[in-house]
Symmetry: D3
Subunit: 207 residues, 6 copies
């Protein structure tokens, strides 16, 4: 008796609940336009558990030295609007992730295997540490940082970001992969002109 | 003379004013897609005062014990993007609003009539108070809370939320209205299996 | 047996829970300094339920025409950092709340008794409505608005704000309560000098 | 050899970089709908440097006394979502910018030429200063402020805003350019009825 | 020659750089007060790399079934204000993390070893998946979720949060560890009174 | 008569106004601690108009090629918490501002005198423009950018930032002014070792 009464209560309260359902999450509609705060939400009735799961965190191809396997909003649309994403990092022996930054995202690195020497740089100091499994390191938003495999075998770590789409600003790609004149790059970086030309040839930048 | 001069000034300044008009508010286009920060804005020339007014805050049907009448973004599209909404709460004698939370919204309760015993629960303490007209109580974001009519007649309160679409996470509906196996629910809530089965039967959950 | 096991689990998990306790809410330490995002938090062990309850929402003294009784962070320290607060509005027959705005807060008005004609003004249109009990109206952030008792008796409404400390920018107090030269006020408001002098005399502004 | 290795690394890392490209900026698609956080982003491959440049900061027509030349999101779509915009202010000798506010934006004024007496008003005090080239002044969000040419010739300043679309709430336009009844305006502003009628006639408000 | 010239440039520009140094990060001063946006910053000259590194991500004591090892702001003060933190999760065979939520934080789970069946619950659907190494799952902010070791051995995962101090709201601890009357708990959760008494006895709640 | 009545109204309403005064702005107490959202607020009664005015925007010393004169929170404490600041940029003939970024701030450049060729770089394209007086350019948050005097005389511009304390990350200072081993810098930037050593000698970095 009391339960019938209660069920009726829930039916009434549900009228308040259901139209707000879409606010519990906002899975990205990757076919729609992007906006300053993320993608449009998929209609809730088209959402499945697989929008919240990404199954590709396997060892990346490290024949180039290192591999980053992202689980950003394009791979894991459920993170849209939630201020979080992840990636897997594999570095071959002797490999490294060159100096880079993320425009609007902090990063946490969780060591899983091997040894990585990582650091970030501010105008007044550089902060560097050799990390082993059991170590966690945070790289504050927007700062240049790097990760070098300083161990004797492969290294693996997981990365978390405070942005569903953190971007990756690889310094060399920025400086030497563009079509700005080499002279301009040399001037504004204070690097030797020959150095700029040499790296432009490698990174495909013209000019 | 001075006034003509001034009028001209306003014509000039208005060129700066008018294109920015849409920023004064962003009434929800409820037919458009939702996004992480809310709905698209209706074209300003289609906005009327009724987008900012909701006229349904009458006594709800409390035959189930309690009734929540929302004025969220779907009823009051003018709150879109403004971080605020409201609701009316009516509780019959002996009725109550079961334990629930709002995922991304704090709540203020303003007593109007009768007596309500309300509380919220944190991992280290529960905070409970018997409220009468003249009392206001705040329930911080994301915490479980409840409201019980502890008086001798009907009780009425108004609620305000810090989110235009605050959602309502009714604990029983979450735990016993889904299709997860009863065994799993029992295990992860530590409730007896029989208890889970009994409530699943009531709330329509299968499994 | 299983329960002992489980209790132990909770003991373990609690080590994760408890240090994060302070994050469930941040009750204002009103004796400490204010900051851009609000007041410092009171130590959690000094918090009581009364930090979340304000009991002064009784009819204000409307001998001046209207009365606003606030439940802002200074009266209700539990709202600190939560983006919400409330107030009670009483307007005598014939009374009104003059044109004003809130710098960084939207407002929702919930009618309780009597009749209020309320409106807000944007550069391209004014939005006005006569409200009766059962009506709710939203005033978007930063816009000038007013409330006039247009009924035959007292009027009462509750207000909610999207800011724990919404401020009240009463236009007359701003324009005529300061010590700026009357000539300057007249020039930059285009009001007649005599009008400015008259109102300055009333609102106590010198100059 | 090492470089081929490295190039391969970059090819691998680029798979992480490129899909995140759209997050480096979000140039407004001004033909699309607006939302609470701004306009939709233009497809990155249609973006050119001209989306980030506005070339109209020339002296405005000050025959009305003052001119504001905006570089808001509608003129400079690259500011979409970035929380910043700019404007050029020219004031003829004897001219001024009347009392106004910006709903959700602070403002910085940078003096370039001439002399401007500027101020803003809070409920408890007015802050006023005579500014010359070399001076910078900030007007906090939502407060009424004004700028008067107090010098002997033209005055020029640049303005920066903390909102890509800051709006301009000119007090006279708000109070006297609308169609609310003059009696209501008089009542809620405490201005004399004759004063209201006079200014309504000038600013085109009916009622 | 050019370099001396340039060095001088850097000396000049550094006057702009250095006072802004503190803004590159804000390491928590854990002895100072907390506020709505986090802890006060430690003086930059007292910051060391160890403020950004936590070395305790070793296997937790799972004799209770599961263990969560946090790297929140109290263990890793460098995350203060950055909107990110992490934890290590170990679950013994047959163990599980009971139903819980985080008030203002989303969560990403990265599988490392074993098999975990995880899920979260919304008012309209439950989302559940069996996860193995290589899988990543996101739990949106504020929703109830659980993790069960469904494999044949130990399971390990890493967790990332979108809040430096995410809290842990264990449902049983909330419902049965407090001092609210059992009758009230029974009423507002619809659980049988005997069930509530039984669990209160286990979780130490009085009443 | 009516006015006395009204004055009384204002006295009543002012009780709502005044305690909220501190929220109209939050001038930095530069002697207090910093926090994630800025400095503590100065007590309002100690605030003067000079907290909102900075008078140092005169031509900087460009003997080093370029000079940046900041009006950040440390020079202009009134911007605390407002999401805005400014700077003056002077560049001698032939001078330039080297490649740099701002960790959490977008930038708008307003040309005043001379000619500047400015640009910013993303992973997929570089955006460059030659700017003359009348031009405005925006540099989105966190991206590397540069400004070169490409004209025949001095160049002057004003800068606005979306952060009260935007920091300045000069690339050369970051890469070559630290004490990280030159070998590590060479490896992670792909620059020749000799190049690194040469620039380290200039920028004072050891290692």
């Amino acid at each position: 008796m009391k339960m019938i009464y209660t069920l009726f209560l829930f039916a009434l309260l549900s009228s308040a609940c259901c139209h707000a359902f879409v606010n519990d999450f906002c899975v990205a509609n990757l076919k729609g336009p992007d906006g300053p705060s993320g993608y449009e939400c998929k209609p809730p009735n088209t959402v499945t558990v697989d929008d919240f799961v990404f199954s590709g965190f396997v060892a990346g191809n490290t024949s180039g030295g290192a591999a980053v396997t992202p689980a950003f909003v394009t791979e894991l649309p459920g993170v849209n609007g939630l201020g979080i994403s992840a990636a897997r990092l594999d570095i071959a022996k002797g490999g490294f992730v060159p100096v880079h930054s993320h425009t609007a995202s902090s990063e946490i690195l969780i060591m899983v295997k091997g040894e990585i020497t990582a650091g970030f740089i501010t105008p007044s100091a550089a902060y560097q540490k050799t990390l082993k499994p059991g170590d966690v390191m945070v790289f504050p938003q927007g700062l240049l940082h790097f990760q070098v495999n300083s161990g004797k075998g492969k290294a693996t770590a997981f990365l978390a970001f405070s942005n569903p789409s953190p971007g990756v600003q690889l310094l060399d790609l920025l400086l030497f992969g563009n079509n700005l004149p080499s002279q301009l790059i040399s001037q504004t970086t204070l690097l030797d002109y020959a150095q700029v030309k040499k790296l432009k040839a490698i990174f495909g930048g013209r000019g």
